[in-house]
Symmetry: C2
Subunit: 207 residues, 2 copies
């Protein structure tokens, strides 16, 4: 199996830019840890009253040079998207492994930031992750592929803090249409399943 | 229109606990700002090389007392869920407004942490938010209501940094089944639509 990093084009950047990418990855991991900690505290903790102040001081130093950026283009999307992105503190991050060209798998656990009902994963988070993994199972050819429709079925709630397995595979192609299915399973039982229809975008003819 | 805070039970806690909830809300807002900033920087910034270290120092001070917590129960779910939760840095946070008991609306913008394709929202994020808003349009009666199935249709990509309107409403009830639909629209045009089936949980008979 290969990870998405191997499947995606390698980072073709200078050594300085690679250092920078590594720093962003460390920053995101450190942020993710604090995001998680702020969910885990269940009793008054005096430090919490000063956390915002410390974070704001850091923000103010970062704020100035970046106020006009409206898209992140510095690295490939899989470095910063909200599901797999190691540079994004919102992302789990999910590590995708490819069993073959059209079957993808991920194993992970959900922590408290992803909680909906007490002790269980928010249903929208399961939908988000399934969209991402199904899309990854549909390899782009000469033209980009976009999601047209996604159906999610909830069979049983997904607990936090247990190993979760997710598998998705491309199931069919017909012209520009591609279908994929996938499941999120806990302890060998399917908890959430998904079916997706993807469309190859039309290439605009050169005029 | 009333917001979800008005619809949900008010925070029935002591003044000290209310101060604490307010501090958590400020912390999450400060974290959200840094999560966003780390996505917006598009050139080398020397501070980034020390951000992780500063955050880790903060984490280490917070880490000790909280390592065994496995669910967030201190406040109602809408305070800390990953979509509407003002105490959760992952959440937008989305503010829900109720037009009536079974119609809910939200207006907001997506920033860089929610990016999928360059300059557009990740499809899984749209699915996550629609799941949340549709669920909110289905008011629980005497028994809890859970999502059984959700279908998302993607009509056009959703740009970052533009006003987005989301509306959802309950459409039908039949026994324990409840249906709802909703749309995410940009500039008056539907970009993503959703249809959900929800089930009222059976009450276990007392034995």
């Amino acid at each position: 199996m290969t990870t998405l990093e191997h499947r995606a084009r390698p980072l073709d950047v200078s050594a300085a830019e690679q250092d920078y990418a590594a720093a962003l990855e460390r920053d995101a991991a450190a942020l993710r840890r604090i995001v998680d900690l702020t969910q885990r505290v269940d009793s008054n903790h005096p430090l919490f009253l000063e956390v915002a102040e410390r974070l704001d001081t850091l923000s103010e130093r970062l704020e100035n040079p970046v106020d006009t950026v409206t898209e992140t283009v510095r690295n490939p999307g899989w470095r910063h998207d909200p599901v797999s992105g190691v540079e994004n503190a919102i992302a789990l991050p999910l590590v995708l492994e490819f069993e073959d060209d059209r079957t993808v798998r991920a194993e992970f656990e959900f922590g408290l930031p992803y909680q909906g009902p007490n002790a269980f994963v928010h249903g929208g988070i399961s939908a988000m992750v399934l969209d991402h993994v199904l899309s990854a199972a549909v390899p782009p050819g000469d033209v980009p592929v976009v999601t047209a429709q996604l159906t999610i079925r909830y069979h049983r709630p997904v607990p936090l803090f247990v190993p979760v397995t997710m598998v998705a595979r491309e199931t069919d192609r017909d012209g520009r249409k591609v279908w994929a299915t996938g499941e999120l399973a806990v302890d060998g039982k399917v908890a959430v399943s998904a079916e997706g229809l993807f469309i190859e975008k039309k290439l605009k003819s050169a005029q």
